[in-house]
Point group: C2
Chain length 259, copies 2
C-alpha cells in the first residue's frame, strides 16, 4: 500500500472541475468515456472522511448561499479575497466595479481564477503577501475561510498579518460555521477529544485528497461566535458584528482598532 | 491520527442515501442543516482516491445505463442477483414477474433492499449460500460486479460456487469494464505494476470508506473480455456471448457446461 503523494490538491481539483463545467480540456472519465464528477475528499484525523462535489467553487451568484451575497454587499474599498479559489467571489466583485485582489497558496487555483477572468491574483500566503506593500480596506474570508485562523495559537499571527496590510478603518468579513449544534456522536466525541488536548472543540485537523494527491495535515478552525470573540481579544481587531441570519452559518465583521 | 474503523461501509452508505432520497430517517447534514450528498469513497492501494455519489445504487430503470436494461431482459427462470445492494435490479425483475433472490454480504444493504420492497434477500457470501440448497437459472453480476471474480486465483472458486447452485443450462450475466482504453498515466502505471507482480493489469486492490468506516482491502477485477475468456477456461462455465455495444462497458454471458 503506497500513500498518496503530496501536491496541489486544490489546484488539480479546480482545474478538473473547470474542465467538466466548460467541456474544455482533459477531464476525469469513468471507463475512459463517462464524465466522472469532481469530488473533493476531506479526511479528519479521527478517521472521518467526507466527499464533497467541487462544482460549488465555480458557482455563480445564482447558486450562492444568501450570506455570500450579504458579504459581497459589505465589501468596500480595496478588497483582498483571501483564498480566492476558483474566483467566484472576486469575479462578482469585479463585475460590481470593486477593486479586488485574489490571494491563494495554490498555484493551480490561481491559474483557474485567472482563466476565469480574475484580473489581479497573487500566489502567496498571507504572511508572504504582507511584504509586497499592498494595502486593503476589506479582507474577505468566505467559503468557511474563517477556518484559516486555525486555532488559538495561529490566529493572532494571522490577524496581525492582515492588520499589517490594513488601511485605517479596514474590516475583515469572515464566514464561519458554529459546529456545536450537532447531535452526531462522531462530532461530539471529536470536539471532546480536542478539548482534552487543549484545542478548541471545532479545531479540525484535516487533509484534502484528490486522485493521487494529498495535502499535509493542517488545522482548520470551525468555532462559535463566542470562541471567535475570545480569539480576537488582544489582537488589532475588534469583533463589531455577527450576522447570524443563516445559523449555524454566520458572517463575522472585525474592524481594525485605533487610528 | 487514528485510522478509520472497520464496518459495514456499503450498508451505512445505502441507508443514508435512502434517507436522503426519501426524506425519512436521520440524514447526513452540513452544519446540522444542509443535506450533505452521500458519497462513496474508493481508495486504491497506490494512493489513488475517488469519490462517487451513491444515489445511482437506488436509481430506477429511467436512470439506468442501456446495458442494465439488456441484462435484465436476458434474465430468466430463478434469478440470483449477486450483490443486490439497494435492490435496483431485483425490484425491476420482481415487477416483471421474474423470481429473484438478492444476495449481499452487507447487512445494511440487505435491510435497504428489504425496505425498498425486495421480497427475497439473503445476507451471505456466495460460498455460504451454496449450502442453503437453492438452485438458479440465472446469476446476475451487474453494477461492475464481474469484479467479484477478484483475479486468477479466486475466480475458479467463485465460478465453482455458482456452478454448485446452477440448474442445467444456467447462465451468468456479468457486467464488466475494459480498463485498457485509458491513456491516464496513473492507471497505466498501476496496470504495469500489477503485471510485474503477477496480477492481471486491472486487478484492483481497493477499500471502500464512508464517514468513520472502512472495509478491509480486497481485490476487485476489471478485465478485458480476452482476459475473461482465459479466466473462464477450465471452469464449469463457457463464455458464450459478449455484448460490447456500450464499450468499454460490456455484458458477458457464461453458460453452464454439461450436464
Amino acid at each position: 500500500m503506497d500513500g498518496p503523494r503530496q501536491g496541489d490538491v486544490f489546484g488539480e481539483l479546480l482545474r478538473d472541475a473547470l474542465a467538466v463545467r466548460t467541456g474544455v480540456g482533459p477531464r476525469p472519465l469513468v471507463g475512459g468515456r463517462l464524465p466522472r464528477p469532481v469530488i473533493e475528499i476531506i479526511e479528519r484525523d479521527d478517521g472521518l472522511i467526507n466527499g464533497a462535489p467541487a462544482e460549488h467553487y465555480l458557482d455563480g451568484p445564482e447558486q450562492w448561499e444568501p450570506y455570500d451575497h450579504r458579504a459581497v454587499h459589505r465589501a468596500s474599498g480595496a478588497v483582498l479575497d483571501v483564498g480566492v479559489g476558483g474566483g467566484r467571489i472576486a469575479l462578482a466583485l469585479q463585475e460590481r466595479g470593486v477593486s479586488v485582489t485574489g490571494l491563494d497558496i495554490s498555484p493551480g487555483a490561481v491559474r483557474v481564477a485567472q482563466a476565469r477572468g480574475v484580473r489581479d491574483v497573487v500566489c502567496a500566503t498571507v504572511d508572504e503577501h504582507v511584504g509586497q506593500g499592498a494595502r486593503y480596506d476589506t479582507f474577505l474570508l468566505l467559503g468557511n475561510n474563517l477556518g484559516l485562523l486555525e486555532g488559538r495559537g495561529r490566529a493572532p499571527e494571522f490577524l496581525a498579518a492582515l492588520a499589517a496590510m490594513a488601511r485605517p478603518g479596514a474590516q475583515i468579513i469572515a464566514q464561519g460555521t458554529d459546529p456545536y449544534g450537532t447531535t452526531d456522536p462522531l462530532h461530539l466525541t471529536y470536539h471532546e477529544r480536542n478539548r482534552r488536548r487543549g484545542r478548541l472543540g471545532g479545531q479540525l485537523r484535516l487533509r484534502l485528497r484528490y486522485r493521487e494527491l494529498s495535502t499535509g495535515w493542517f488545522d482548520y478552525l470551525v468555532c462559535s461566535t463566542d470562541e471567535l470573540g475570545q480569539i480576537v481579544a488582544g489582537t488589532p481587531w475588534r469583533l463589531v458584528d455577527i450576522d447570524n441570519a443563516d445559523a449555524p452559518f454566520y458572517l463575522a465583521t472585525l474592524r481594525l482598532v485605533g487610528p
